[in-house]
């Protein structure tokens, strides 16, 4: 007897006789312990297996080694090496080895293993690989969900909680099934419906709503990593959104889930596929696509194939197949070869790995929803056209009023360009700059290869709209040309403008919008140098030169600022001429700078502006103006008239939006699956590296999960049939678990992505199996399962929790209460739109752009992509339709799936950034403002208005202890906005929706604040 054998005997001398407890079950009790502690070294993966010992297979675990020792000797715990090792005190002997940093097994785990061996070490399979079956219901005559949940609770001495209040229930189920809160009509109808089946009818109504499909689609888009762009560097836009609409339609039509799956995997391989069935296969093209320069497209293509397999694993099989990319699975019985056999199904798509417009195969389709979007976009254009005309009209009056003074004030000496008089001239590399009496600035002293010239000036102008640069020929320059460099040519690589205030630390950058010149050299012929526009990009590899034009004439460039620059009296302007070309020796020899305060032609062209023309005309009275000049003067006035410019910019945006909407009505290229003629060979990839081929493999599936359906072809269609086969133990369980998660916030298995050995076990195993079988038996009827869940008493429990129950079951695994969790951020936006009446309920169509803080895309892509929020009714569409740029998810969403890879787990955190978003996002501000107006219109009484707001946002009247708190906030807000009408006006300007003239602005602003307060209540954002 080994020394430890005695120790074991001693250890368990006082243990209960094994017969006293329920027999140990391998799958439930033993395998999790082995998996957590042993299998990473003694499991299915040969490459990391230690001491040749494998513990997940009975024959191996019980086979004696060369020394005659067996890890497990059935019925004889004291002879089993396994037990000896886990209780050993010898650091060389003990398992898990200290090197693994795993803690030693707990005494109850050791005891379980001992009992199991004593009971003969009966083997079994991991629960999720056994087919689900319906067990006998513990109670008859009730919803099976309740029967199982109550049975589990009774074992714990617990019972279900009472039903939640009616308004809470309707709110809960409306969010769960449509993603929207109930409207007040829906709520009132339900509250006054006392029929015994009122609830069931409400559930039915919601499942029949077109919003049901939208809600389900949001879930499925996260699963499918759907986005409107490729991701990565180029992040090109796709037009795959018809697939999104197909998903919505499928859920609304309650397409059986097996059919839904088959079409997404292999719609193209079905006999005589319909366009919809072809579009469905976009599911497997929603992965990211990498168009980075220098990348081998084949590497990308291999990535996509792998992504499809991993997505299949996570979404439908609940398996972390990705682990098997580099090695045999450490815990689950899937080999690396099986993994690559799965990739073989996706390896012969007629794709090259290219991204963007080269990401064929495509299927061209027109969207039935695009027409409505175009109509709405055109309506928005009409509205803004009218606004533009009105703004033009209202500008007439101030124009006419100011015209006489303007015309009379001009004299023949008027100069729209004023020369800049430098207060200081510096350079980086040593050029000495001197300003002459004609304001020209001369480069003298040393002539470095490159330099920056800096001109500081406090100008006479209070406002600057643009600059003019003259490069002057000079006899002291080479050949009397434009620079002191060998060629006499100059290269200006960049121009920068800053403003500095005396005594202030910071300088501000002034954005220059356009640049034009009298001559720009041919870029291609001059090593990238030529174009004046390139002086604005801060890139020394390009810039402006006039090479090729005569050197003995003045060359002129005009730069316009993005916005007029208003200068304080103590502010200085700094103009920096950067001359950092690759070869150098092309610094400007002599130049002159001018500034102007004129908008329009002056800064857009090299021609004289309107006022200059007027000054030259000699006309000195408004009445003497010819019609044409008068018109020009009005246009000139508009160029600088802020209220008009604002409307004009919005009209321009509306027009752009209409162009986009028009394009969406044309044929759209949707990325789809399609086999190429010659199938590619598929190989195991050594260590998962894309070009390191191992053994060749054939299409196949992990047989330990389910057998291949014999009559099926070895292609994607066969694979899809295998996935939804009745013999597949995983798919139905995995899907009903996700459906459960939609309504309870957590699945019955709390690792929805992992049903394998390392995943969590189901909290209600029999219930999960019952639902899975029911799902399959009902013909994969999604609405049926959701109806069952929603109609259960379990679902309808109150979510309030006593301290005792909370301590007993903090995470509500036992379901002795309803689920209480923060709603997904997309539902919060939709709820704000719904509550305020702003929601546009139309379904389908091209993506839209909700409000987002300015500059977010621009920052990420350094200006390559611009985000312009949608105008008009498109702004108020549901969040499902939000344009999803893969590299930067919509900023107003938090805890959202990133849509880079398949995600099935809901992520819920609670951070200050979320608080800031909900307080300050423009959608919620606009919704609050609109509700403020509506509250004021609802009646004259303050309490009535507050109650009205509560009904709109929370779906219930205020409680007596809440009213005084809201009254207090209302009172402070009213006092403030009455004293500060300008602040009230600002509150009213949130968002773009036009409101009828509200006379009581301070009131509206104050009620808007209360509305915002209510939106930010925990209750408002919570599934209660």
């Amino acid at each position: 007897m080994k020394p430890w054998a005695f120790f074991i005997a001693l250890l368990f001398a006082n243990a209960l006789p094994s017969g006293a407890a329920e027999p140990v079950q391998f799958g439930r009790d033993v395998l999790p312990i082995l998996s957590d502690n042993c299998l990473s070294c003694h499991g299915p993966d040969e490459s990391t297996r230690k001491a040749g010992l494998r513990l997940d297979v009975r024959e191996e675990a019980t086979r004696p080694n060369k020394d005659g020792i067996s890890a497990i000797v059935p019925n004889r715990p004291e002879a089993s090496e396994l037990l000896g090792r886990i209780v050993s005190k010898d650091p060389e002997e003990v398992m898990p080895t200290p090197k693994s940093h795993k803690p030693p097994l707990k005494p109850n785990q050791v005891e379980l293993l001992r009992r199991w061996i004593a009971e003969g070490a009966p083997w079994g399979r991991h629960w999720a690989f056994e087919p689900p079956r319906k067990s006998a219901l513990p109670f008859e005559g009730q919803n099976p969900i309740d029967a199982y949940v109550r049975e589990a609770l009774s074992k714990e001495g617990l019972a279900t909680s009472p039903q939640a209040e009616k308004h809470t229930l309707l709110r809960r189920v409306s969010f769960d099934l449509t993603g929207l809160p109930p409207t007040s009509q829906e709520l009132n109808a339900f509250l006054s419906d006392f029929a015994p089946n009122a609830w069931e009818r409400a559930v039915q109504r919601l499942l029949a709503s077109p919003h049901f499909g939208e809600r389900m689609a949001f879930w499925w888009l996260d699963v499918a990593r759907y986005a409107d762009t490729d991701g990565f560097q180029s992040d090109s836009t796709r037009s795959n959104w018809p697939w999104r609409d197909w998903v919505t339609d499928s859920f609304n039509a309650n397409t059986p889930f097996d059919k839904f799956t088959i079409e997404q995997f292999a719609g193209d391989l079905l006999p005589n596929p319909t366009p919809e069935q072809k579009i469905a296969t976009c599911f497997h093209r929603n992965h990211m696509a990498n168009g980075e320069g220098g990348r081998d497209p084949e590497e990308s293509r291999v990535d996509y194939v792998i992504d499809r397999v991993n997505t299949t694993g996570t979404a439908l099989l609940g398996l972390t197949l990705g682990c098997t990319q580099c090695h045999n699975h450490k815990f689950d019985p899937i080999t690396q070869a099986e993994y690559y056999s799965l990739t073989a199904f996706f390896n012969s798509i007629a794709e090259t790995g290219a991204a963007g417009s080269a990401a064929a195969p495509f299927y061209e389709i027109r969207s039935v929803h695009a027409g409505a979007a175009l109509l709405s976009a055109n309506a928005t254009v009409s509205e803004w056209k009218q606004s533009e005309a009105e703004a033009r009209l209202s500008a007439r009056k101030p124009f006419e009023e100011g015209l006489p003074a303007l015309v009379e004030g001009l004299d023949s000496h008027f100069q729209e360009w004023r020369p800049i008089v430098a207060s200081a001239l510096t350079s980086t590399e040593g050029t000495v700059l001197l300003q002459k009496s004609d304001h020209s600035i001369q480069a003298t002293g040393s002539n470095p290869r490159q330099d920056e010239y800096k001109v500081l000036a406090s100008t006479l102008l209070k406002r600057i709209t643009g600059l003019k640069l003259e490069v002057l020929p000079y006899s002291g320059n080479t050949k009397g040309g434009l620079s002191r460099g060998a060629s006499g040519e100059f290269i200006l690589t960049d121009l920068k403008v800053q403003v500095r205030q005396s005594g202030k630390a910071e300088v501000r950058d002034i954005a220059v919008k356009t640049a034009i010149a009298d001559f720009s050299a041919d870029k291609k012929a001059n090593g990238g140098y030529g174009d004046i526009k390139d002086t604005l990009d801060d890139d020394p590899r390009n810039g402006w030169t006039t090479k090729g034009a005569p050197q003995d004439v003045i060359h002129t460039a005009v730069f316009s600022f993005a916005e007029p620059l208003m200068l304080e009296s103590d502010e200085e302007i700094v103009v920096e001429l950067r001359q950092r070309s690759t070869l150098g020796d092309t610094n400007i020899g002599r130049f002159r700078l001018f500034a102007t305060d004129q908008a329009g032609e002056t800064i857009r062209s090299l021609k004289p502006g309107t006022l200059q023309t007027l000054a030259a005309s000699g006309i000195r009275s408004a009445s003497g103006l010819p019609e044409l000049l008068r018109k020009q003067l009005f246009e000139h006035y508009l160029e600088d008239h802020a209220p008009y410019l604002k409307v004009k910019a919005l009209l321009a945006r509306a027009n752009e939006q209409a162009v986009e909407a028009k394009a969406a009505t044309g044929p759209l290229k949707v990325m789809v699956l399609e086999e190429q003629k010659e199938p590619r060979d598929t190989f195991v990839l050594v260590r998962g590296v894309w070009d390191k081929h191992g053994d060749k493999v054939q299409p196949g599936v992990p047989l330990s999960i389910a057998p291949w359906p014999e009559q099926e072809p070895r292609n994607r269609l066969g694979l899809a049939h295998w996935i939804v086969s009745r013999k597949n133990p995983l798919t139905a369980r995995v899907v009903v678990n996700q459906l459960w998660q939609l309504l309870f916030g957590n699945g019955l298995v709390r690792t929805p992505e992992d049903f394998g050995l390392q995943g969590e076990r189901p909290s209600h195993h029999e219930l999960l199996d019952w639902l899975a079988v029911e799902f399959m038996e009902s013909g994969w009827d999604t609405k049926h399962i959701l109806t069952l869940i929603a109609n259960s008493e379990t679902y309808r429990q109150s979510s309030a929790v006593s301290a005792e129950l909370l301590s007993r079951d903090p995470t509500n695994r036992l379901l002795a209460r309803g689920s209480r969790f923060r709603l997904p951020s997309w539902m919060l936006r939709d709820a704000a739109l719904q509550a305020s009446g702003l929601l546009n309920t139309s379904t389908g169509g091209p993506p839209t752009r909700p409000y987002q803080p300015a500059g977010v895309w621009e920052e990420l892509f350094m200006g390559r992509f611009k985000y312009e929020p949608s105008l008009g009714s498109a702004q108020y569409r549901r969040t499902l339709y939000t344009f999803w740029r893969r590299s930067i998810a919509p900023t107003f969403l938090f805890d959202t799936a990133q849509r880079r890879v398949c995600e099935v787990r809901s992520n819920r955190t609670n951070t200050p950034l979320q608080a800031l978003t909900l307080l300050n996002d423009e959608t919620s501000r606009e919704a609050s403002r609109v509700l403020g107006v509506r509250a004021v219109m609802a009646g004259a009484d303050a309490d009535l208005r507050l109650n009205w707001l509560s009904e709109a946002i929370l779906g219930r009247p205020l409680k007596s202890d809440e009213t005084p708190l809201l009254q207090r906030s209302l009172k402070s807000a009213l006092a403030h906005y009455k004293d500060h009408p300008a602040d009230a006006l600002k509150v009213l300007q949130a968002g773009q929706s036009v409101l009828p003239n509200a006379p009581q602005q301070p009131e509206v602003a104050a009620y808007a604040l209360v509305a915002s307060l209510l939106f930010n209540l925990d209750e408002a954002m919570t599934h209660e």
Partner: protein
């Protein structure tokens, strides 16, 4: 992880009126193993970190990672190879190249040697720095150069993802998130992990994806918070126009009171957390602007960091901000300066990025030292890979640049427990392969963690049954020779 569980635990450990919950609950959760993975209570950003960290006394309390995105050329900037001039224009020997993969940009061209375009400055301690970085050269005796860095990735996004998360595939927590998760912060009013990106005029070819500072599978509150160089440094930070601070305060008071009543009615501890997060949000509304307002910095600071430091959003201004963050106890500050991807015209393009960053990087080290902060602040400078010795394009033309090169590159560190005036590792005569003391990205991670008092092998997060760590499953070790 199971967030609801974690939240209830936070609640128990936090102070909350209205509901009293006994220690039984704590015990119950401990039984469930709820404490196995999760940090001790972390209310918003005032993270306390994990109870068992640091594993040993830390040398560095904070890290400033000066990320030079695009791959700076070690050949021009640090890794002096005088013999290259001899071999200029000749083909790179196969014995050196060893079939190394190239990007498709240069795979089809001959690999002709392009010698460094720079002369080198040699510091007292013998460190070499190219002439394009004169300020860095002047502080070289404070720096620790690792000349034998290497990585496995040849394209930007995977290489940067690996540099910052340990894995080339997006989705793992970034090093800053790991640190924030494990060690928390000492500042109650600011996030633990802040990201600052230089404001550039030129559209960059390599976007800086937010997964570079993402929290991966760690709870999202550990993700880096990007300080934008805009009127609103943190998205949604500013209250809307027409909402004065006093009124916001009043509104939040009512909000908290009603929420507290809801907490009483429902017993849901999540509400207690929510109340605190709204308060934290309110505090951030003053702490962040206070941080980003540089008007209290004296003129000499701007002179030290260079004229560009007066321009908000510039790399230089961000370096000043980094120092202010470290002064405020922030754990991990990450700067990004894009556009180091110099495939062409090295002499004009690379020098432009050097001018953007050189003076301020050096000034940061000097400034930290003057203030006594350098001892426990680790400064790290580097990109995702280096550049190849072969010219891209006609090797001797001014148009030529260099392609990506993962097999060797240089990074430098300063302060925080590393040797000053020290160079570690060597490359071969072509700056192509590591010749001596290779340091993989994983080793760098292990070393940074070590300096922060963390054993990278023991610092894990359990997910899908696996114990994930920053350094992954492959061999990684602390570079002991560079520790002071």
């Amino acid at each position: 992880m199971n967030d609801s569980l974690e939240i209830s635990r936070r609640y128990f450990l936090g102070k909350c009126t209205g509901v009293s919950v006994g220690s039984i609950a704590m015990a119950a959760m401990a039984r469930e193993g709820a404490f196995g993975n999760e940090p001790s209570p972390n209310l918003g950003f005032s993270g306390l970190g994990l109870g068992n960290l640091p594993h040993f006394p830390a040398r560095a309390k904070s890290v400033i990672f000066l990320t030079q995105s695009g791959g700076p050329s070690q050949i021009e900037l640090f890794d002096e190879k005088p013999d290259l001039r001899k071999w200029a224009g000749t083909e790179l020997p196969d014995s050196i190249r060893k079939g190394q993969r190239l990007t498709t940009m240069t795979a089809k061209q001959k690999q002709l040697i392009k010698p460094a375009a720079t002369q080198f400055h040699r510091s007292k301690s013998g460190s070499t720095v190219g002439e394009w970085l004169p300020y860095t050269a002047a502080v070289a005796d404070e720096l620790c150069f690792i000349k034998s860095m290497h990585t496995d990735e040849i394209n930007h996004a995977p290489a940067m993802t690996k540099m910052l998360t340990g894995n080339q595939i997006p989705g793992r927590p970034s090093i800053g998130s790991w640190v924030s998760y494990g060690l928390g912060s000492t500042n109650k009013n600011l996030p633990d992990y802040l990201v600052l990106i230089s404001k550039m005029q030129r559209p960059s070819d390599q976007p800086l994806y937010d997964h570079y500072w993402g929290s991966g599978f760690l709870p999202s509150r550990y993700q880096g918070v990007k300080l934008r160089n805009a009127r609103e440094p943190v998205l949604y930070l500013r209250d809307p126009d027409g909402m004065p601070r006093a009124l916001r305060r009043e509104m939040l008071d009512s909000l908290a009171s009603i929420n507290a009543q809801r907490l009483k009615d429902t017993g849901d501890p999540e509400i207690a957390t929510r109340i605190q997060q709204y308060e934290m949000a309110f505090r951030m509304q003053s702490s962040v602007p206070d941080l980003t307002d540089l008007s209290d910095e004296p003129a000499e600071i701007f002179e030290l960091y260079g004229p560009d430091s007066r321009r908000p959003g510039s790399y230089a201004a961000n370096c000043i901000l980094a120092r202010r963050l470290v002064e405020r106890g922030v754990r991990f500050v990450q700067l990004f300066h894009p556009d180091w991807d110099h495939h062409s015209r090295l002499t004009s393009w690379c020098t432009a990025r050097c001018r953007d960053t050189d003076q301020a990087s050096a000034a940061l080290v000097t400034d930290l030292k003057r203030r006594g902060l350098l001892d426990d602040t680790l400064v790290v400078w580097g990109g995702e890979f280096g550049r190849g010795v072969a010219g891209q394009g006609q090797w001797d033309s001014p148009e030529a640049g260099r392609d990506h090169h993962p097999r060797c590159f240089t990074m430098w560190m300063a302060g925080g427990g590393v040797k000053a005036g020290f160079s570690y590792g060597k490359t071969d005569d072509f700056s192509y392969n590591v010749a001596e003391n290779p340091v993989h990205v994983r080793d760098l991670h292990a070393t940074i963690m070590h300096l922060m008092g963390v054993d990278h092998e023991r610092f894990t997060y359990r997910l899908q049954g696996l114990d994930f760590r920053l350094t992954g499953v492959e061999q990684a070790g602390v570079v002991k020779d560079i520790l002071a």
